[in-house]
Symmetry: C2
Subunit: 316 residues, 2 copies
């Protein structure tokens, strides 16, 4: 079997998103369903760029779990590492949509989501080792046995190039911020790329200033640090260079999933071997397209769509 | 404060029902939200008949919990005994709609729904004692502290007339059928009316034959046993009389909630002091109206609607 371009590991669920914006869940009458979860969305975004992508995750043994497997197949994402856990329920995510910048999430993942029940011995080390990019998220470290499984995956990976940690931090998944900081500190020596926003960098390395945060991430051993600064654009830093690209202008409809669109596009760009400058511009534009659309997984743009808006075209 | 006509105690949640029938959740794209939960639906149904109704239950500390409180208020149901539990999530219920007789339910109530966390000491004994009807369900016995709270409520009630137990049995809420049977056996001596279908009667008293089931319930001390027989109608039996009424003909759209519509209407009929024959005919017709509509809580008919179809009119 040909190795994957991108293998992600982590969260999956069904997104139930309101058909109305600007109101609380109290007032939403209708919800539409789609596949969600950050690690899963990144795999989908990479697949939409034509990349051979797979996701390592777990769903419930229920109709929503079957829906996820089917949808991933429709997107061309390999589901050979997706299993349904007997007796478990597929998690749900509701959101409220208050553009431009407030998108509260309500997770139904109790007592422990299937995607946090991945056991180390269940992993296919060859799939993880051979993937050109291996992408994991901090949320995957928030509970055992998933945390141990992530470390087992990194052991298999052996710090190969393009071992990415998305610093993805959501307070509700942790008993304390300090617990998350400690988990990230244990994870960083195993990865070569780290990506996060200001708050996530603070959890990871105690710095919110983007330059200091990037330096701190490099000091922990990563080769590429990417700091997402929202309306201020994005900063990429390696030992050799520092690149800053401005935010791509967008009328935000729903900011959720924009970071995953950014991530999947960055995977594509890195695999293409583009310069850091071009890679970050491409990823930024992809994220802007997703932010301009209501949905997440079904909003991931093709390479042509991203290139069209980079050359000044409209993105709708 | 004027006593309630009907006080119910038990399950509440948000129903997320598909806008399409005849397909699995995999294929449903859109869901609509409404208040649900059997005990809550019975209170709503009674309120729609003009009865002063209240429900004793608990919701999550979230937008869905606020929605429930607001909707109950809109229906005229007293929410003074409804509290939001900090840190808890309001449960969700999905269904699939395969008319005429298959309506699978998918509950998000883990690890323990707020409505099963009612503590005995939190009850207002006066409200329970003074209510003309006190209605509880077997589901409320499926976990502690709710089970103890139900027994505390029955202690306050002192086996006053119209202390109703809905034999409502859903296998997923119990570790075994035997555990449910034992809980019902402990409950029956405390109530004066028991209502259930054939399977529920089997769990309660080990009988599926409607006449033997009714007799067994009477032998356990209830004064009125009501056995719902689906297309075969309903049987009511007391020490003095046996009444059988045929099913009200209906093109079933969604059978869920029909039993609660039946229950709320039966409460109204019993409070009116109607004969058992007239009461069961009225409740049957109300249930048929709900079965002919897609939703549950928002489908409960008014007294005039029920009387219209009893006199031969259409119910839509």
């Amino acid at each position: 079997m040909r190795p994957h371009d991108v293998v992600t590991m982590g969260r999956v669920g069904v997104d139930l998103y309101p058909t109305r914006s600007g109101v609380g869940l109290e007032d939403v009458e209708t919800f539409t369903k789609s596949v969600g979860g950050s690690a899963t969305n990144v795999a989908i975004a990479a697949a939409v760029h034509g990349r051979r992508a797979g996701v390592i995750t777990r769903v419930g043994d229920d109709p929503f779990g079957r829906f996820i497997a089917r949808e991933l197949g429709r997107f061309g994402v390999d589901v050979s590492q997706v299993a349904a856990l007997p007796g478990e329920q597929t998690p749900l995510t509701f959101c409220e949509i208050y553009p431009p910048d407030d998108f509260p999430l309500y997770f139904y993942r109790r007592p422990k989501a299937p995607d946090l029940q991945i056991e180390p011995h269940e992993l296919d080390a060859k799939v993880i080792r051979d993937a050109r990019i291996f992408w994991a998220t901090v949320t995957g470290l928030s509970a055992e046995p998933s945390r141990s499984a992530h470390h087992a995956a990194w052991d298999a990976r052996g710090r190969a190039p393009l071992t990415v940690l998305d610093l993805d931090y959501r307070a509700m998944f942790w008993s304390s911020r300090a617990e998350a900081s400690q988990a990230v500190a244990q994870a960083l020596p195993n990865v070569t790329v780290a990506i996060g926003n200001a708050e996530e960098c603070e959890v990871a390395v105690g710095e919110t200033d983007p330059y200091r945060a990037a330096d701190a991430l490099l000091a922990r051993g990563v080769q590429l640090a990417v700091v997402k600064r929202g309306p201020l654009g994005v900063l990429g830093r390696t030992a050799e260079e520092t690149v800053e690209v401005p935010a791509h202008p967008v009328d935000v409809v729903n900011g959720l999933g924009a970071g995953d669109g950014f991530g999947g596009a960055l995977c594509h760009a890195l695999l293409e071997g583009w310069s850091l400058q071009r890679s970050l511009r491409f990823a930024n534009a992809a994220g802007a397209i997703v932010a301009g659309r209501r949905e997440c997984s079904t909003a991931m743009p093709s390479t042509a769509e991203v290139e069209a808006i980079m050359s000044g075209g409209s993105h709708e």
